[in-house]
């Protein structure tokens, strides 16, 4: 339990605070609309459906305000940077941005459903009131119209349609109704195209459809402009307790003048204007960065269709394990794709290794292959760099780095940086020991990484620092062919698959054994575990971190950090 608190305490607290605010908003707005005197007549027409519609509206305002913030990556980078002094936990939480965005989106969807159902009931009952199907008071209230010296209560006015079609007619002709339908449709399309299956397979559909959020926010701001939530005017002389039982006397006796109503002023814009401006700034910043010139220093085709691009951009400063978004207008005007950088900050350029993994990457590789020797590549826009958990790797005395498949990329940057820092004896380097676990099905497409490890291995041995870095390679997709090779070459110094001194292991790692080994070799240390890989592995490592951590400061503590894309 204590270990869970160390690793998950802060996000849990954030979610609890958020839910508390949601609950408070819902309950307080519900009670207000259910009990306030100025809504007495409105409630007579609508019953509790009024409160049931207004309470989710408040929660929706709050959540629509929040939803834009987690996706402002430049803003988040800024906040991350400013927490130089604070504990690691604070910076880790900003990794959870996408999870929080999804959580807020689910709440918006739920509240939209409640709000819509409540309004369906409202419109039906308003329609019936207008037709005089309810009691005398309802009929009298519905008859008040926006003319003479009266103000209306029932928004269903002057509709000449068939009674069954009146609610639909109102929904499509009033501001509130039309914007409501529009934004609900946008929300549904956004949600269906954001399902994991679609997002993982066809990112473009997800990305383009998601831009319907612009329609959503515009519609949301104008949704209340019809001012159809009606209440008795402030300091109205009309006494509801006295006058509700004889509506026929209204306007005829001094205690009961004709009740005057006013509509609620639209309030959503106050909630969302701030985040909308912040998001606009974010997009402008991305555009500005895109316009900045990017030169190609080197373009290399690596084995197994991996493209390495070495680029230079004025004023570009990166840290280890960060990623950039690339945009190539000649391939696609609007698409930005994230790539982890594989160069170290100590180098005067930044590089990315791009693997063929879809339409955009395939076209890029094709374009580069056709390029004649020494020429500059197509215009490239670069946005970033954006921080991830790997920035923290040097703060821990001991680091466990786990890279699965393509996830090994940020660690290329880290290893190179380690190497530069060590050569210069950088005092900022708090790390004394690194354990690196590389898991992949096959070494295909990662020969470039194996080359890097070879170079590091050689240089470390030359300086007698073989102990600093312990790495283990796990080939999870071995077959009979591999076994045969290994049997034949078993007594050689270097590994037959990678050419490295460290022998390749086959199959998945036994994490209990690994964590145990790290714990034994590093008592009383704080160990940071970094993963770039599949979610299933993240769950396993998170559990092991919790299991092998001890709250006791004299024993080893494991912290888990996950990269997310």
């Amino acid at each position: 339990m204590a270990n869970w608190i160390i690793n998950n305490g802060f996000p849990a607290v954030m979610v609890v605070v958020w839910m508390t605010i949601n609950t408070y908003l819902f309950v307080s707005f519900y009670l207000y609309y259910d009990q306030d005197e100025s809504y007495y007549y409105t409630r007579h027409l609508l019953g509790s459906a009024l409160a049931w519609a207004r309470a989710p509206a408040a929660v929706l305002n709050f959540n629509c305000m929040l939803i834009l913030l987690p996706v402002c990556r430049n803003l988040l980078s800024l906040i991350r940077g400013s927490f130089v002094c604070c504990s690691r936990t604070m910076r880790k939480q900003l990794d959870q941005n996408l999870s929080f965005h999804k959580l807020v989106a689910y709440m918006i969807a739920l509240m939209t459903a409640v709000h819509t159902i409540a309004h369906l009931l409202n419109l039906e009952w308003l329609n019936n009131s207008k037709l005089g199907l309810y009691d005398e008071l309802s009929t009298a209230l519905s008859r008040l119209e926006d003319e003479r010296n009266e103000t209306y209560l029932n928004p269903l006015q002057h509709i000449d349609a068939d009674p069954q079609q009146r609610p639909t007619h109102f929904a499509f002709t009033s501001i509130a109704g039309l914007t409501g339908v529009l934004i609900t449709m946008s929300l549904i399309l956004i949600i269906t195209s954001s399902m994991e299956v679609i997002r993982r397979s066809y990112f473009e559909v997800f990305w383009y459809t998601h831009h319907l959020f612009i329609v959503f926010f515009i519609g949301l701001v104008f949704h209340g402009y019809g001012r159809i939530v009606r209440s008795l005017e402030d300091d109205s002389p009309h006494n509801t307790t006295l006058c509700k039982d004889h509506p026929e006397d209204w306007g005829k006796i001094p205690e009961c003048p004709i009740p005057q109503f006013e509509g609620k002023e639209p309030g959503t814009w106050m909630w969302v204007i701030g985040p909308m401006i912040i998001y606009l700034c974010e997009r402008v910043l991305r555009f500005v960065r895109y316009m900045q010139a990017v030169q190609y220093r080197k373009i290399v085709m690596r084995p197994s269709k991996v493209l390495e691009l070495q680029l230079r951009k004025k004023g570009f400063k990166m840290e280890v394990g960060q990623y950039v978004f690339l945009n190539c207008p000649s391939i696609s005007q609007l698409e930005w794709h994230p790539f982890t950088m594989t160069s170290a900050p100590e180098e005067d350029f930044f590089s990315v290794h791009i693997r063929s993994a879809g339409d955009w990457t395939d076209k890029l590789i094709e374009t580069m292959q056709k390029l004649p020797e020494g020429e500059q590549g197509p215009k490239m826009g670069v946005d970033g760099p954006f921080g991830t958990a790997s920035e923290d790797v040097f703060d821990y005395e001991v680091s466990m780095l786990v890279g699965a498949g393509i996830g090994v990329t940020p660690f290329a940057s880290i290893m190179k940086s380690i190497w530069y820092k060590f050569k210069e004896s950088d005092p900022k380097l708090r790390t004394r020991k690194i354990y690196f676990y590389w898991l992949c099905r096959e070494t295909h497409a990662f020969e470039w990484f194996a080359d890097l490890l070879q170079v590091l291995e050689r240089e470390m041995e030359e300086r007698g620092l073989g102990d600093f870095l312990t790495y283990k390679l796990f080939l999870t997709g071995w077959d009979q062919g591999h076994t045969n090779q290994v049997i034949v070459h078993f007594d050689e110094d270097t590994d037959v698959v990678t050419g490295l001194k460290q022998k390749t292991h086959y199959g998945r790692p036994n994490w209990d054994k690994e964590f145990d080994q790290v714990r034994k070799e590093n008592p009383a240390s704080v160990v940071g575990t970094f993963l770039c890989g599949p979610a299933a592995l993240a769950k396993v490592l998170e559990k092991k971190c919790a299991k092998y951590s001890d709250v006791d400061p004299r024993k080893t503590k494991f912290y888990f950090n996950k990269e997310n894309f």
Partner: protein, 185 residues
């Protein structure tokens, strides 16, 4: 956007539309709205659409992810053969099903969503996609490689039976020098 299988998105949209139609119908009937007959139709139509759309199709390229417990639905949908396989049929079916939902506000949203799903299915059908059931694969064992793993077919060479009998009785006489070296040096 070349490699998109539109049917996948159409499926998500149609399933959502079915649920929305169903919910709208329930509200209409429970609230005894004017036009509740359309609402009760929406309940039936929404339910039917959910059943039809729940089993995901097998993808033409790439790994297909099943929905939990979709196997029994797959079998039912597969039983209708070409009617459920063809996306033109689905597009027109959804277009037809959605129309009565437009006659009452509670079901209008479901109607529009189903209409959009129908259009996406039409796009999928035009591109030649069709519905394939995801069936459990029978794992074929990899064929065992030959030569070194198959047991020997013939017994090791032995001297003829008379000499073998002699060897059993006369151990010293049976001793012989191997023509080729059998030790490691």
């Amino acid at each position: 956007m070349g490699k998109i299988e539109w049917a996948m998105w159409a499926n998500e949209q149609a399933l959502a539309a079915g649920l929305i139609l169903l919910t709208g119908g329930i509200v209409g009937v429970a609230g005894q709205f004017r036009g509740w007959e359309f609402a009760s139709y929406a309940i039936a139509a929404g339910f039917f659409v959910c059943l039809l759309e729940y089993p995901r199709s097998k993808r033409a390229k790439g790994t297909s992810v099943e929905r939990t417990g979709q196997y029994c639905f797959t079998v039912c949908v597969k039983a209708f053969g070409p009617v459920t396989r063809n996306y033109y049929v689905r597009a027109f079916l959804h277009a037809a099903l959605c129309v009565p939902g437009g006659f009452m506000l509670a079901t209008v949203l479901g109607c529009v969503c189903l209409g959009i799903a129908s259009l996406i299915y039409l796009a999928a059908a035009v591109r030649g996609e069709h519905w394939e059931p995801i069936l459990p694969r029978k794992d074929t064992r990899k064929p065992v490689a030959e030569s070194i793993k198959s047991p020997p077919q013939n017994p090791p060479p032995r001297p003829p039976p008379e000499i073998r009998r002699k060897q059993a009785k006369d151990v010293e006489g049976a001793a012989y020098d191997n023509p080729i070296a059998v030790t490691d040096d």
